[in-house]
């Protein structure tokens, strides 16, 4: 009788070796330079790729199994949410503005990140980072997909969701996140890792994810909240990868330190400018607020950031160059951005509104030194217009920053009564910036940023030539998706349906 032979079960260490490191080979008939043409030109020196430590030791088979299980649970909740009119459980329809902004600005960024990690996974010459980047790339495309699925249910009922992809490419405020990722994706593989893997995922991701996902939970949005839980373990892995990549670069060669420092300075500033939109979301768009932008910054920016840069100091890395300017801006940016979004609301694919009496009390309490003095008079002006039967709009096209692409609406770091003006002449042409941080980024690589597609100047060029009706069609913006919340179809429908449900 034959004895059935059970195949020997591999231990974790052995499995990891076979399914990651062992996948590499030494090229025999092509040289390394031909296969990996992009690893040298940025100036980062790598002496030993095998020194790359993978803290998770995750292999593809385990990855699939684990993610599939999460998705099964996730889609069960999404289905239940759709079947039980989950959209009527949100606090009120103002909340939808926050997730419209998420869908137009952040979900496409997940997709961009997927493409970026797929690319750098191919470009790195070591199998450790290749495998790690491949998994992160798959995570990111899953995030984009599951977010789109979560929000597609809202698209059946409300305006402003239906064409997020065109709006991501074309509508003016979305050029802020888009240009951020385009900048990273057109950089070399090491800069991409510092930009997205380290600066964004490690230093800033909590400032993005925690507010959105706790905002969803506070405001009864089970679909988005469930996405947050599903993504949480991935985010933890991405943060660890971000930290590993910077340590790897710093430990490989001391010549790498100034290059990495330059990238940290750049991407920290760019990330903080991008997050001003999240600041406005936290302080103004959630009917039930989680915490103020100031409070979030103190926890996730200051506390975590200080610990991180203390840790990196032993490599000779200093805190990001414009850290102090960010700190000075925290009590101002959300008000400045939201006043801007409100006055340009005829051109946004989400609704905005003036703060209510209780909103105003909350803002006064959270921003005791700035809100009442500098920003309340402008809100009161807009409220008075509304009470008189009018509506405050600013039909002027704003000057945009050549780097972050936001309207140049930020004030001088030390003078909140004065807008910040910065300009640089480069090869006979003028370029404008919102801040010292953005001007510095430009001056490091002017050849790159002169190519920026800025939506306002572009509107005056061929083929639109300033035609606003043609612009609205081109960006796929229907008038029902834009404008004041108080008079929106979204508000009227939400209230009507909610009443129906409660009387049935």
């Amino acid at each position: 009788m034959d004895i059935k032979k059970t195949p020997k079960k591999l231990n974790v260490k052995e499995k990891y070796r076979l399914m990651t490191r062992d996948l590499a080979w030494e090229p025999s008939y092509r040289d390394e330079k031909e296969i990996y043409p992009y690893v040298d030109y940025e100036g980062i020196k790598v002496h030993d790729w095998s020194k790359w430590e993978d803290p998770f030791r995750l292999t593809m088979d385990a990855y699939w199994k684990y993610q599939a299980e999460k998705e099964r649970k996730y889609y069960a909740i999404i289905d239940a949410h759709a079947q039980n009119n989950g959209h009527l459980n949100v606090t009120d329809a103002r909340y939808l503005t926050a997730i419209k902004l998420f869908l137009q600005g952040i979900s496409p960024a997940e997709y961009a990140s997927h493409r970026g990690f797929a690319r750098v996974g191919r470009e790195f010459a070591g199998v450790g980072p290749q495998v790690a980047c491949q998994m992160q790339s798959i995570d990111e495309i899953r995030h984009a997909q599951t977010q789109v699925h979560a929000m597609s249910n809202y698209n059946k009922f409300y305006n402003g969701f239906k064409d997020f992809a065109s709006q991501r490419d074309r509508i003016w405020y979305n050029s802020v996140p888009r240009s951020f990722f385009d900048d990273a994706m057109s950089a070399g593989p090491f800069e991409f890792l510092i930009a997205i893997g380290f600066s964004f995922e490690y230093v800033l991701t909590n400032l993005l994810f925690v507010p959105f996902m706790s905002g969803a939970a506070y405001n009864g949005d089970m679909a988005t909240c469930t996405f947050g839980f599903s993504a949480q373990s991935d985010e933890a892995r991405h943060m660890t990868l971000g930290l590993e990549c910077i340590k790897f670069m710093l430990e490989q060669d001391p010549d790498n330190i100034p290059i990495v420092q330059k990238w940290i300075d750049k991407w920290f500033w760019r990330g903080c400018r991008l997050l001003t939109l999240v600041a406005a979301m936290m302080d103004y768009m959630l009917p039930k607020r989680v915490m103020s932008w100031r409070e979030a910054w103190n926890i996730y920016g200051v506390e975590n950031g200080n610990a991180l840069f203390r840790d990196l100091a032993r490599y000779g890395i200093k805190p990001p160059m414009h850290w102090d300017d960010v700190e000075k801006s925290i009590d101002h940016t959300s008000h400045q951005i939201m006043l801007g979004l409100y006055q340009w609301k005829f051109g946004t694919a989400f609704h905005s509104w003036t703060p209510t009496a209780s909103d105003i009390e909350w803002l006064k309490e959270k921003y005791p030194t700035t809100f009442e003095k500098y920003y309340l008079p402008r809100w009161e002006y807009a409220i008075a217009q509304k009470e008189a039967g009018g509506e405050y709009n600013n039909f002027g096209l704003p000057k945009l920053c050549q780097v972050c692409q936001l309207p140049t609406l930020f004030t001088e770091p030390d003078d909140p009564t004065q807008l910040c003006h910065r300009e640089t002449d480069y090869e006979g042409e003028k370029y404008h910036f919102c801040s010292d941080g953005c001007q510095h980024v430009f001056e490091q690589e002017p050849e790159k940023y002169v190519q920026a597609w800025l939506p306002m100047p572009a509107l005056m060029q061929e083929p639109l030539k300033g035609d606003l009706a043609a612009w609205m069609e081109w960006v796929s913006l229907e008038p029902t998706a834009a404008g004041e919340y108080a008079s929106s179809e979204d508000k009227a429908n939400f209230e009507k349906w909610r009443k129906q449900v409660s009387t049935d």
Binding site: W344, P398, Q418, L419, H421, P446, L454
Partner: protein, 120 residues
Amino acid sequence: MAVVANGEYKFPSRDRVENYYGHQLLFACWDHHMLMAAPFMLFGAPDQKLGDIIEQQLKPLMQPDPDFDKIDWDAIEWTKSGEPWTPDFNKTVKENGLVHKEQFRFKTPGLSTLVPPQGE
């Protein structure tokens, strides 16, 4: 500093004046007046009278501000690229020395209904 690239890296600017079919962009900022959140982008031809651009484009956009009707247009302090500057409204954009994407700023001393005066 220059961009780090693995080949020649030279591309034309996206908003060069040639892309505006004989026109150009200008930016205008009313200092200490932030009801309108950012400086305005204006659009015109170099041989257009500056006064026409001010009257037809800039003034209608400034009107919502409660200080607008109180402006003494003869007492305005003008600057261009940080330097004092005296515009001549009867001359053209070009004769006023305003190149493509130039920003001019103007101060209306004493008017501060919605934004506290500087330094307060």
